[in-house]
């Protein structure tokens, strides 16, 4: 069995599972945020109306809650939703509620690794499509709708059809100025936005061993854009060290068997990659950054669970140091812990010296909700994950998806720029 099959077998008390088996898995962690949470609460209310009594959750210690999409409260309704979430976590004794304005908080997928909320070998589900991100920690991580999250909150279990796994074997090392974001955009460009539909995308090989944990998280994060059920990477010493730094040492790793089966194996030579950009209006619409050097921009956005981790910010700072931005540039670290480190390392000073705006962690503008959305016809280069029509604002705005290095170089040049051309 491969790692995903072994995790699902263990979680369902079976010795063996195969793709397409339907299993009933015990869930180790479940997450909801300020969009899915109120939706889940609505499902609870509906159940209560049918006469069902909901006095307690299956296990409040395994539930955690993030405020990320509409914080700082975008308007009265979103403020009310945060109140609703707070009432819920109080009523049901959920202690792990990361609140905006009270110490650590941030984008849910970022907290999953920053706070080691999820551990290797676990089954983790969340009310958000980018829950896949956390698979880089060697866990089975998948997004669910509100009804399914409500079900897990009550029962601690959920049905899964065991997915087929596509294995991406990455050989060699990414060249300077090429990041994991470029690799995953290349992969999505090759397999398409439904190329991973109801499958697990697993990444391995020397190229992945070379990568930091944060870079690996960028790979699994965007498996969602290929329609994948989950993304996963096997644990190694780098991951153990990463988790140990966050106080997590007690977990039971799962590794694939030597004869693990994969539906398909795709090989990539990391050293041959160039900086890549996905053009509007799909993450699969890729080309190399240099081909877009005539595209003028209105804004650069460095944010989200995909592109505002500490190393993403360091990459931006490397380009920004001693330079000034030519276009509106917003940098929103993905969690307070990252914001603090960026401050301690002097990155925030570099950003502000360059003329960029530094803001609080939020999903805000990535999903076009608030905190800097795009006007009609505005063109943005962004370290985020989606560029569907209207994703970051007006339906006639345009978003180009890129790595933090490409976004930073483009902010300095005012048009799409390969970071190697700005040295």
């Amino acid at each position: 069995m491969n790692i995903t099959e072994k995790i699902l077998a263990r979680a369902s008390g079976k010795t063996k599972v195969s793709p397409d088996d339907v299993i009933f898995a015990n869930v180790d962690k479940v997450m909801m945020h300020d969009v899915s949470g109120p939706g889940v609460i609505a499902v609870f209310e509906k159940l209560k109306k049918t006469g069902m009594k909901i006095e307690k959750l299956w296990n409040p210690e395994k539930v955690w809650v993030a405020e990320d999409h509409f914080v700082p409260a975008a308007d009265k309704i979103s403020a009310q939703n945060v109140v609703l979430l707070t009432q819920f976590t109080k009523e049901y004794g959920v202690e792990k509620h990361f609140k905006y304005g009270m110490g650590q908080y941030g984008i849910c997928h970022t907290l999953s690794h920053e706070e080691a909320m999820v551990l290797p070998g676990e089954v983790y589900v969340g009310g958000d499509s980018h829950t896949n991100t956390t698979g880089a920690l060697g866990a089975f991580a998948a997004g669910l709708g509100h009804t399914d999250v409500a079900y897990v909150l009550l029962n601690g279990k959920i049905w899964f059809k065991v997915p087929e796994t596509i294995y991406f074997k990455i050989n060699g090392k990414l060249p300077d100025y090429v990041m994991a974001k470029d690799l995953i955009l290349k992969i999505i460009g090759d397999i398409g936005t439904d190329g991973g539909a109801y499958k697990t995308m697993q990444f391995g090989g020397s190229g992945v061993s070379e990568m930091s944990v944060e870079e690996r998280l960028t790979l699994t994060n965007m498996t969602t854009e290929a329609g994948a059920k989950s993304g996963i990477i096997e644990p190694d010493q780098k991951l153990r060290d990463y988790l140990a730094q966050r106080g997590a040492t007690n977990y039971s790793e799962v590794h694939g068997d030597p004869d693990a089966q994969y539906e398909k194996i795709h090989e990539y030579e990391a050293s041959e990659l160039d900086p890549i950009v996905a053009k509007p209006f799909s993450p699969e619409n890729i080309t190399i950054a240099r081909e877009l050097s005539s595209v003028s921009l209105d804004k650069a956005y460095i944010g989200s669970c995909t592109g505002a981790k500490l190393e993403d910010l360091r990459a931006v700072a490397k380009i920004f140091k001693g330079r000034t931005v030519k276009i509106r540039t917003e940098i929103l670290p993905a969690a307070i812990s990252i914001f603090r480190k960026a401050m301690d390392e002097g990155l925030v000073k570099i950003f502000m010296d360059a003329g960029a705006m530094v803001g609080p962690p939020t999903c805000g503008a990535c999903c076009g909700a608030h905190m800097g959305v795009l006007a009609k016809d505005e063109v943005c280069i962004s370290t985020t994950n989606r560029n569907f029509p209207g994703r970051m604002g007006h339906v006639e705005s345009k978003t180009y998806l890129a790595s933090p290095l490409v976004a930073a170089a483009s902010a300095i040049a005012g048009k799409i720029t390969d970071p190697r051309d700005i040295k």
């Binding site: 072994k6 077998a9 263990r10 369902s12 008390g13 079976k14 010795t15 009933f24 969009v35 899915s36 109120p38 939706g39 609460i41 609505a42 499902v43 509906k46 159940l47 049918t50 069902m52 999409h69 509409f70 975008a74 308007d75 309704i77 979103s78 939703n81 609703l84 009310g127 958000d128 499509s129 997004g143 669910l144 709708g145 509100h146 009804t147 399914d148 409500a150 079900y151 009550l154 029962n155 279990k157 936005t193 439904d194 539909a197 109801y198 329609g227 059920k229 039971s252 799909s282 999903c367 076009g368 909700a369 989606r386 569907f388 029509p389 209207g390 994703r391 339906v395």
Partner: protein, 196 residues
């Protein structure tokens, strides 16, 4: 939920691939948490001009489709954000069935949980349905799709079929079997070694 047994209606042809949930229900409406009333915001940016007037050339706004219960659409419908509001909006607008060559995974499951039947059909069948203007009958009991030109059968997991036919609530149904599930789980656990 209202049981789904048989429906007959003209189908709205939405000739687009990769329709993501933000097109189905844009982000500004996610703050609303009641499950009803989302229909007015369905495909918002496609249906309305900036000043809120109805776009006459968008297919959902054509008078002949006003009572349609069936949506025809292209590959990978419902991709993107996991928001269940997308299913709520489609249902509230009046859709009970969606026919496409493929659906995004989370959206697909969300449909069943809200009384909508998503049906995967082949490229050729979908094309025929797009070209035909006749009414389509979907018979869930028999698992058939029929119009003036063709009758084809479709697949559905028995669990989902039962849920839709009886108009059951998925959570309530499963919780009703909690004791049996635990019994089964324990038996399974005792009969097999755990993998380390």
């Amino acid at each position: 939920m209202e049981p789904f047994i048989k429906i007959k209606s003209i189908a709205i042809p939405l000739d687009k691939v990769n329709v993501d949930t933000d097109q189905i229900i844009p982000k500004q409406f996610l703050k609303l948490v009641q499950k009803t009333g989302f229909g007015q915001y369905l495909f918002y940016d496609w249906r309305y001009e900036k000043d809120g007037t109805v776009k006459k050339d968008f297919v959902l706004n054509e008078p002949r489709y006003q009572d349609s219960k069936i949506l025809l659409t292209r590959n990978n419908f419902g991709c993107g954000s996991s928001r269940e509001h997308a299913a709520w909006a489609l249902l509230d607008f009046g859709f009970r069935a969606i026919l496409s060559t493929s659906f995004a995974d989370i959206f697909y499951n969300n449909c069943f949980k809200n009384g909508i039947l998503p049906i995967k059909v082949s490229e050729q069948v979908l094309q025929k349905l797009f070209e035909s203007r006749s009414e389509i009958e979907i018979d869930l009991e028999k698992q058939t799709i029929t119009n003036d030109d063709i009758t084809i059968s479709f697949d559905i997991e028995p669990h989902w079929k039962k849920i839709l036919l009886e108009g059951l609530d998925d959570i309530a149904v499963t919780l009703r079997h909690n004791n049996e599930i635990s019994k089964y789980e324990n038996a399974q656990r005792n009969s097999s070694l755990r993998v380390s």
